[in-house]
Symmetry: C2
Subunit: 257 residues, 2 copies
């Protein structure tokens, strides 16, 4: 499995992805799942995929090298698209074609691959999309400023509680890393290293692109502080006062034959 999260705040976009892939539990590998596309000052995009690695890598090659639009016959590439909406449509079409080919070649139904695509083209809006195998997509909004793919449940509570559209970019990155940490601890299918990218709004640049390896001092410190604070917090919460309160529950009566 995989865990990827994109957080779109007023100040910009954060994308974080783990790198673990596995085919069963005995064939575990490290693969990059976060890819960056940049024409500095003109366009910057980040794409992350969860699901079938062959599908993700095919899509990546298609949108990087270009493939023909069946309507116009023109070859289209991700960095040539005029808006993020067109970019999402292009990735959606690559996804649909790859899924359809896999289906025709006997792999059965649509794959469960999902893709996050975020970024901005000069003069257009910074946007973040989640693209489904059928090629359709949804967009992050001010109300729901993050999108997750893969093993998303473990790391969702902290995002639900703490991320808003007004969260600053560094805090968004920090919260994304805390969310990733919760997932790493609870699911073996998600593992280090972690790739991350930060795209500030209206710069059309990848300001930060970094890989967190095992032993990264900041991430180790974050994990330890978070663990310690959770421990201190639950210890500081008073103990439940419910002793002896039994009247509100119906007990199944004890019976003997």
């Amino acid at each position: 499995m995989t865990y990827c999260v994109g957080i779109l705040v007023r100040a910009g976009l954060v994308m974080i992805s783990d790198t673990r892939t596995n085919s069963g539990v005995d064939n575990v590998n490290t693969f990059r799942k976060l890819y960056l596309f940049e024409q500095p000052g003109e366009a910057a995009m980040a794409l992350a995929g969860a699901g079938d690695l062959s599908v993700i890598q095919s899509i990546l090659s298609m949108v990087t090298e270009g493939f023909p639009n069946p309507e116009t016959g023109e070859v289209e590439r991700l960095l040539d698209t005029v808006s993020m909406f067109k970019a999402a449509q292009l990735v959606g079409r690559a996804m649909r074609e790859t899924s359809r080919a896999a289906q025709q070649n006997g792999e059965g139904g649509l794959s469960d691959t999902q893709i996050l695509l975020g970024g901005q083209r000069k003069g257009r809006r910074l946007r973040l999309f989640m693209i489904y195998p059928a090629g359709n997509f949804i967009e992050a909004s001010d109300d729901t400023p993050f999108l997750q793919i893969g093993e998303h449940k473990y790391g969702k509570p902290i995002l639900d509680r703490a991320v808003t559209f007004e969260t600053d970019l560094q805090s968004a990155l920090k919260l994304g890393l805390i969310s990733m940490d919760s997932t790493l601890r609870s699911n073996l299918g998600v593992g280090l290293p972690i790739d991350l990218a930060v795209l500030p709004r209206d710069t059309q640049r990848v300001e930060l692109s970094h890989r967190i390896e095992a032993g990264d001092p900041y991430f180790e410190d974050l994990r330890q502080r978070w663990s310690e604070a959770l421990r201190a917090t639950h210890q500081a919460i008073p103990k439940p006062p419910y002793e002896g309160i039994a009247e509100s529950v119906e007990l199944v009566p004890a019976r003997r034959r």
Copy 2:
């Protein structure tokens, strides 16, 4: 959906369950999913189910009223079983028969129902089992002192971090409620009220059986303290130092046709 957790520590057993059931999102109801069986001083058991409510209620009726053991022909009831292992086998058999009946009546495969069964009979060990639709089961151990069924991922990180076999009973209850709170916040299929039960080891009694309704002062306070502490914690973690570190990532080169 549902979320139920059983925590088995040295001091005893805690069982917590929500009460929301839904058929789609427009048919939402409250149903008890945590049931207690008690012969004070002799035997005390708690049973919680997640999945198909009709399957859970059938199993409950079968093990309460008794049903024949195909090998001996004798009618067996949960409170008549001589050990928790036999009790788990009985629930497993009820589960298998109910699942098989549903299958034969055209409902397709085995249901995805799961059951937690914990408790103790005098002179025997306090045990906690998770029972699968096929009737087989696994047991909580000193290494993994909790078992979860239903929507278990949101609330797993706090348990992974904080619960050990040496956790005291009140803290186990508190941690179970924090785990439930994380699930409530992130999944609409899990809702108040919450039922909980505490069975101290070697008492064969349900010491505490309580329903937490909306507005319960302790639970409201716990939720608020937890939220505030999480906020304070992530705010106290230093900001990421990664600015400008871009050398370790391969950028897909910008290209123009």
